[in-house]
Symmetry: C2
Subunit: 131 residues, 2 copies
DNA sequence: CTAATTCCTATTGACATAGTAGGAAATAGG
DNA sequence: CCTATTTCCTACTATGTCAATAGGAATTAG
């Protein structure tokens, strides 16, 4: 299940794309438009800055802006950053985890196939597709 | 993310299907084969009994058995019972929830489309496909 | 200098997850 | 009837995540 981090994060990205006029967009404006607490959005946006999705600028006239064009972002990369993983099962979320039942597990192939579908869907969808 | 309830539940169903000889299969055997604590499986299987997926019988010679043929179960119905919902976002998980931003939400159509894909995948997959 | 804004740390309440523990009730077979 | 086996039931617990809130420090444009 996608949490508010992923859902709100995506909405922030869309908001930034829609209100991009070259300058920085203050978080307060985004919070007002999206009807999400600005305080909570700070946590969300901080992650996005750390993950390199957006750029922040302090001080008056500051705010946030996208670092590339909306068509260059995939929904997948945004969700993966915000959620940590997009995998549907713990077995596949941690790539380094080597399950002892890997070979005999009857469900693993299904989870892998499903994960592939999910991956293809979200990485095939661009931020610009949501505007 | 599918929790152990859904993952283990599915494995119990597969185990029951594979070891179905007309009689009841004791949980101890399933726990041994699946390498999952029997105590924990009790919680899992209890849900499956309540949900009508399997039938339980107490006492010596007791255990659990499927109530229909493996090809009559979909993975979707099993996961939905165990997880509560299979929806990827809270907005869609609770059918009665009427989001005030429903009309202007730019992400909702995507979540709906994605949920459709997930639904089709899991409800199109039969328990018998996993044997 | 000031107002606006991000940046940073800490805290909280509620809930879910992944179990464990102990025993009561039921039942088949001798 | 007795016993071994098995489900059924209630309770408990530790850990973590979620969804925030709170207060203030640092930064910067005008």
């Amino acid at each position: 299940m996608i949490s508010t981090k992923g859902r709100y994060g995506l909405r922030v990205m869309i908001d930034l794309a829609k209100n991009d006029n070259g300058t920085y967009v203050p978080l307060k404006d985004i919070a007002d438009r999206q009807e999400i607490s600005k305080k909570y959005l700070e946590i969300i946006v901080k992650k996005m800055v750390e993950g390199g999705l957006v750029k922040g600028s302090s001080g008056k006239g500051g705010g946030y802006k996208l670092v590339k064009k909306p068509e260059k972002y995939t929904v997948g990369e945004i969700l993966t950053l915000m959620e940590g993983t997009i995998s549907s099962v713990a077995c596949l979320a941690d790539k380094s985890y080597d399950c002892p039942r890997r070979k005999k597990c009857e469900t693993l192939p299904m989870w892998k196939e499903f994960d592939g579908i999910v991956h293809d869907y979200f990485y095939g969808k661009k931020l610009s597709d949501l505007l």
